[in-house]
């Protein structure tokens, strides 16, 4: 399989503090590639560097062979990369449908005056938007406002808004954060279903999920990549256990 995303030497320094110290990463098309590491390892910053939310101190990023190092966030969905956020980050006063349709329209915008002419509640995009809402199981809430959702439903909407751009690569930043076991299970099932259609780069804290669904796992610690490999290799890697796994098992699992 071909490599869809390449990061070389990505680094971020805030003043004296080196949050991410030169991380190299290759993501293969079709994989679920997980990034794990203890709190403060720089995972979210690493994501923000890829998606342009945070300016890079050093390093380059290639997506489908094209250098995207200096792309601003709004350009990425147009070339097929879309992300969700760790903190739920949707549009609270808009309906679920508007959330998804609006996100979808960003990349379907066709010609300079399309944003005045395109009908919002009919046509091809309507079907696609409803499909995406259905795929995350929120159809019954279609015309309710974003702020009326429970936390678990908001996380689902977060994923739906991310998928609306019809990307090839999806960056998911802790999609199960703060979810009850039942909702966590639903989210895991959703990610498994998505795996067939998208390449997924995933940050996740819950170890059993990561081990279950990942094709490749990269481990970050103190801003550096300390290991990479298949789930079984990572579980048996002494360095990883020292840095992370043992401690986490005691804490959460």
């Amino acid at each position: 399989m071909s490599i869809i995303l390449t990061c070389m030497g990505l680094a971020k320094t805030y003043g004296e503090e080196q949050v991410v110290r030169g991380v190299d990463l290759d993501v293969r098309a079709g994989h679920i590639h997980s990034v794990i590491g203890p709190n403060g390892a720089g995972k979210s910053t690493f994501f923000n560097l890829i998606s342009g939310q945070v300016t890079k101190t050093a390093g380059t990023v290639f997506f489908k062979g094209e250098e995207i190092t200096d792309y601003t966030p709004h350009m990425l969905p147009h070339i097929g990369m879309s992300r969700c956020f760790q903190r739920t980050n949707v549009f609270p006063e808009l309906t679920i449908y508007e959330n998804v349709w609006g996100a979808m329209f960003a990349c379907a915008n066709d010609g300079p005056m399309d944003f005045l002419r395109r009908p919002i509640f009919s046509g091809e995009l309507k079907d696609k938007a409803e499909e995406v809402v259905e795929s995350v199981g929120l159809s019954h809430k279609l015309h309710d406002k974003g702020k009326t959702l429970s936390h678990g439903q908001s996380r689902m909407l977060e994923v739906a808004v991310t998928l609306a751009a019809q990307p090839e690569l999806v960056l998911l930043d802790e999609p199960t954060q703060g979810l009850a076991p039942e909702a966590t299970h639903e989210m895991t099932e959703l990610i498994k279903r998505l795996a067939g259609q998208y390449t997924i780069l995933l940050i996740e804290h819950k170890m059993h999920i990561v081990m279950e669904i990942s094709d490749v796992i990269s481990v970050l610690n103190l801003g550096q990549k300390i290991a990479e490999g298949k789930p079984a290799d990572i579980q048996n890697n002494q360095m990883v256990q020292d840095a992370y796994l043992g401690r986490l098992r005691d804490d959460n699992d």
Partner: protein, 314 residues
């Protein structure tokens, strides 16, 4: 809540009744500033950008249209001339202002407004400076107050329909996404700064349109029409009426014009009253008159005991 169609019909009825209730000139004034309030709301209420500089574009358009009319050229050239001048100014000002957000954005719009005011103030050869620009004729077909009112009313509805169409289009949805969550709007693929600029220009273009009509009403452009205090009045109108609803700002404009016409006659300090009302609105009635009506409506429905909680409109 009511559909936009219903509200549009209510507005139509209001426009027909207004000259019977108020003096015709006052009613015309209400239409012109109604347009200003509704257009400013596209930017303030829908996109979440508070501008204290909209009088710049109102004033520039008023002067441009006034000068064309004074030269005895057709009103159908005066209006486009004013709209183009106002929109060009807005494109320039907006380009710089949308680079900043929040307080800095407000300060920038305010600063540009001041700059335009002093430009007009010192450029006496063209603008008449402190004395204003007098002697502006009305178009031949609308010299008496009533036919002029009808002329303005027709233009008013064309603009209202155009603005409603914009707000209901995907562009309007993009504006609301930016208001709700600019970071996420950027992440799903919208160039937020560009769309803020578009919002700024659309709002200012319609404000300019209203500005081109103003000189014909009183036959003069007083210099205070471009003063930043006027920008503040626009904000007052739309907050008083309610920025959450497309038609809400109209209520604010009508109330403002009515108050200034009624109280200013016998009480020169009437702005004190305005200030008090403004404080009341901001403290207790964040959604303006529209929210007050909705709350009352909901209260009575619940009292009758037949209702599930009413939804609020956007």
């Amino acid at each position: 809540m009511m559909q936009n169609k219903t509200l549009f019909l209510i507005t139509l009825a209001g426009v027909v009744i207004a000259p019977m209730v108020f003096p015709t000139v006052t009613a015309t004034d209400m239409l012109i500033f109604g347009l200003v309030a509704v257009s400013t709301n596209i930017m303030v209420g829908y996109t979440g950008m508070l501008s204290f500089g909209q009088a710049s574009f109102f004033g520039i358009a008023a002067y441009a249209s006034g000068l064309v009319l004074k030269a005895d050229i057709s009103v159908f050239l005066a209006i486009p001339a004013g709209v183009i001048m106002g929109s060009l100014a807005a494109a320039m000002v907006g380009y710089f202002c949308v680079k900043r957000t929040g307080l800095y954005f407000i300060c920038l719009t305010f600063a540009f407004n001041q700059a335009f005011f002093f430009l007009v103030y010192v450029w006496t050869d063209v603008t008449g400076g402190d004395d204003g620009l007098p002697g502006i004729p009305r178009p031949d077909f609308a010299t008496d107050t009533l036919s002029f009112y009808i002329f303005i009313a027709v233009l008013f509805f064309i603009c209202m329909a155009a603005m409603l169409a914009i707000v209901k289009s995907p562009l309007g949805l993009i504006f609301r996404m930016i208001r709700e969550n600019p970071e996420r709007a950027e992440a799903v693929g919208y160039n937020v700064r560009f769309y803020k600029w578009v919002s700024f220009m659309i709002a200012s273009a319609f404000t300019s349109f209203a500005g081109t009509l103003f000189p014909m009403l009183y036959g003069i452009v007083p210099v205070d029409q471009i003063h930043w205090l006027k920008s503040g009045d626009f904000i007052f109108m739309l907050l008083f009426g309610g920025s959450g609803n497309f038609f809400g700002p109209l209520i604010g404009a009508v109330a403002y014009i009515w108050m200034s016409d009624t109280f200013s006659v016998f009480w020169p300090r009437w702005p004190i009253l305005m200030g008090a009302i403004f404080m009341f609105v901001v403290l207790f009635m964040r959604g303006g008159v529209v929210e007050m009506i909705e709350r009352t409506y909901r209260y009575f429905r619940q009292k009758r005991g037949d209702a599930k909680p009413a939804e609020t409109t956007t």
